[in-house]
C-alpha cells in the first residue's frame, strides 16, 4: 500500500447504501434529479468507492452492483438518439434510477419525521407496570405476541434440548484475490477482454460482486484500465502496459 495514502486521514461520510450516496452526490453537485449527468455522477461514485477500498473499508456488495448499473446506464446514454424526434421519457435509461432515488428519498424524509417524534417521546416516561403477584416479570401480553416471540422461544428450548443438532453453514469459497489473478491470467492470453465477459462464469450475485470488487482493486493498483475505445462501443479491460491500444 502507498504510504502517501495512509499519511493523511480522510473523513468519509457514512452512507446507508448506494442510493444514499447518489442522493448525496446529486445534492452536492446541485443537479436536477430528472436530468442526472450520468458520466459525472458515475465518476464521482467510483471515486468514492475506490477511496473506500484504499482506506481498507469494506465495500458492501450493493455499492458494486450500483456501480455496474451506473456504467450500464452510461453506456446506454451514449447510444445515438432514437429515430423519433420527440423525447420519450420512457426510453431514458436513467428513468428507473430516478424513480428509485425519488422513492428512497421519500422514505428518508419519513425517517427524519420518525426521528423527530422519537426525540420528543424519549422525554416522556411511563410508570413501569407493577405486578400484582410476585409472578415472573417477563410475561407478555397476548396482544403483543408475535411470531418472533414464538420462534425465539422455540430457539431457546431447542438450544437447551438434550440432542441438539449443529447448524451447518456452507461458506462459498470466493475471494477477491482469486478473482484478481483470474482476470490477470486472462489478460496474459488476450490483449483485452470485454467488461461483460468478466462475469460469464458468475452464476450468483455474490460471485458477480466479488468479480467486480476484484476489478476495482485491479484498477486501483493500476494493473488494468477500462476503456471504451469509441462512442457507444464495447467496454474493454486492458492490461496496464504503458502502450496505448491502437
Amino acid at each position: 500500500m502507498d504510504d502517501s495514502q495512509i499519511s493523511y486521514a480522510v473523513k468519509l461520510p457514512a452512507f446507508e447504501g448506494p442510493l444514499d450516496l447518489l442522493l448525496h452526490l446529486i445534492k452536492k453537485n446541485e443537479i436536477n434529479i430528472y436530468d442526472i449527468p450520468i458520466a459525472l455522477i458515475t465518476g464521482q461514485y467510483l471515486e468514492y468507492l475506490s477511496l473506500m477500498t484504499s482506506l481498507n473499508l469494506a465495500v458492501a456488495g450493493e455499492f458494486l452492483v450500483m456501480a455496474a448499473t451506473l456504467i450500464h446506464i452510461k453506456s446506454k446514454t451514449l447510444l445515438p438518439p432514437s429515430e423519433t424526434d420527440e423525447e420519450d421519457e420512457e426510453d431514458d435509461p436513467r428513468a428507473d434510477l430516478v424513480t428509485r432515488l425519488l422513492e428512497y428519498q421519500r422514505f428518508k424524509d419519513a425517517a427524519q419525521g420518525f426521528e423527530l417524534r422519537e426525540q420528543e417521546w424519549r422525554e416522556v416516561f411511563y410508570r413501569p407496570a407493577p405486578h400484582a403477584t410476585d409472578g415472573p416479570t417477563d410475561e407478555i401480553n397476548l396482544v403483543d405476541l408475535s411470531l418472533f416471540d414464538l420462534l425465539e422461544a422455540l430457539r431457546g428450548v431447542m438450544e437447551r434440548a438434550p440432542e441438539k443438532k449443529g447448524l451447518e453453514i456452507v461458506v462459498d469459497e470466493l475471494s477477491v484475490q482469486d478473482r484478481m489473478s483470474l482476470v490477470l491470467d486472462r489478460l496474459e492470453r488476450e490483449e483485452s477482454i470485454t467488461f461483460t465477459s468478466l462475469f460469464d462464469d458468475d452464476t450468483t450475485r455474490l460471485a458477480m460482486i466479488v468479480t467486480f470488487l476484484a476489478l476495482l482493486e485491479l484498477i486501483r493498483l493500476k494493473r488494468v484500465r477500462i476503456l471504451q475505445a469509441e462512442l457507444f462501443g464495447t467496454i474493454r479491460v486492458w492490461k496496464n502496459t504503458n502502450l496505448q491500444p491502437s
Binding site: 450493493e62 452492483v65 416516561f125 411511563y126 401480553n141 416471540d149 422461544a153 450475485r205
Partner: protein, 193 residues
C-alpha cells in the same frame, strides 16, 4: 425553579420512581434546591391529591413519599388485574406453546422431554386460554392426549393456517447478511448486458 415547577417535577419523579422516595433522595436529584422548599412542595402536592374525585394519593411510607391508589378503587383494580393476567403469557407458556405449535400433534410427555421440566400446569393454562386444544389421543400405551393449536392461536399471530408458521431455518436466515437469498434489485443478467 418556581414553586409550581418544583411541584410538577416532584410529581413526575414520584410517579416514575415506583418506590418510596425519601426527602434526602429528592434533594439529591433536585440538586441546588432547598430541602425545606421540597418539603413545602410535597405538602402542596399532597393537598392537590386530596381534592375530591382523585383516585390517587401521596402516601408517606417506608421513609419516603409515594403515589398510591386510594383504597376505594381497589375492587376495580382487582378486576383489571384479573383481566390482564388472563391475557398474558409467561415465558414458560410461550416455550410450551412454541413446541406444540411446531411439533403438533404432540403429547405432554414429548413436550416435557424437550423442555426438561414438568409442563402439566402450563399446558392447562394454555388450554384454558383456548390457545391450545386436545386434538385426539396417541395410539399405544396409556393412549396419552395429543395437543394442538386452535384457531385462536392463528388469530393471535395473524396466520391464515399452520403452513404459514416460519421455519426455524428461515428465522436464522433473517439474520444472515449475505445478500444471496433474494435479488435485491434487478436480476443478475441485466447487469452484464
Amino acid at each position: 425553579m418556581e414553586e409550581h415547577e418544583l411541584t410538577a417535577v416532584i410529581e413526575a419523579l414520584l410517579f416514575v420512581s415506583g418506590e418510596p422516595m425519601s426527602l434526602e433522595r429528592l434533594t439529591e436529584v433536585l440538586e441546588g434546591t432547598d430541602t425545606d422548599k421540597i418539603r413545602e412542595a410535597l405538602d402542596r402536592l399532597r393537598q392537590n391529591y386530596d381534592a375530591a374525585g382523585r383516585g390517587l394519593q401521596i402516601v408517606e411510607v417506608a421513609g419516603g413519599y409515594q403515589i398510591a391508589t386510594r383504597s376505594e378503587c381497589a375492587p376495580w383494580i382487582k378486576a383489571l388485574e384479573k383481566i390482564k393476567s388472563a391475557t398474558r403469557l409467561s415465558r414458560s407458556g410461550l416455550e410450551t406453546l412454541a413446541i406444540v405449535a411446531y411439533k403438533q400433534p404432540v403429547t405432554r410427555g414429548e413436550v416435557e422431554a424437550i423442555r426438561g421440566v414438568d409442563s402439566a400446569g402450563v399446558l392447562k393454562t394454555l388450554l384454558e386460554r383456548r390457545i391450545l386444544k386436545i386434538v385426539g389421543r396417541r395410539e399405544g400405551l396409556g393412549r396419552p392426549m395429543l395437543y394442538g393449536t386452535t384457531r385462536e392461536f392463528l388469530h393471535y399471530f395473524g396466520l391464515k393456517d399452520l403452513s404459514e408458521l416460519p421455519a426455524l431455518k428461515e428465522f436464522r436466515e433473517m439474520a444472515e447478511t449475505l445478500p444471496e437469498h433474494e435479488p435485491i434489485h434487478e436480476p443478475a443478467s441485466e447487469l452484464t448486458n
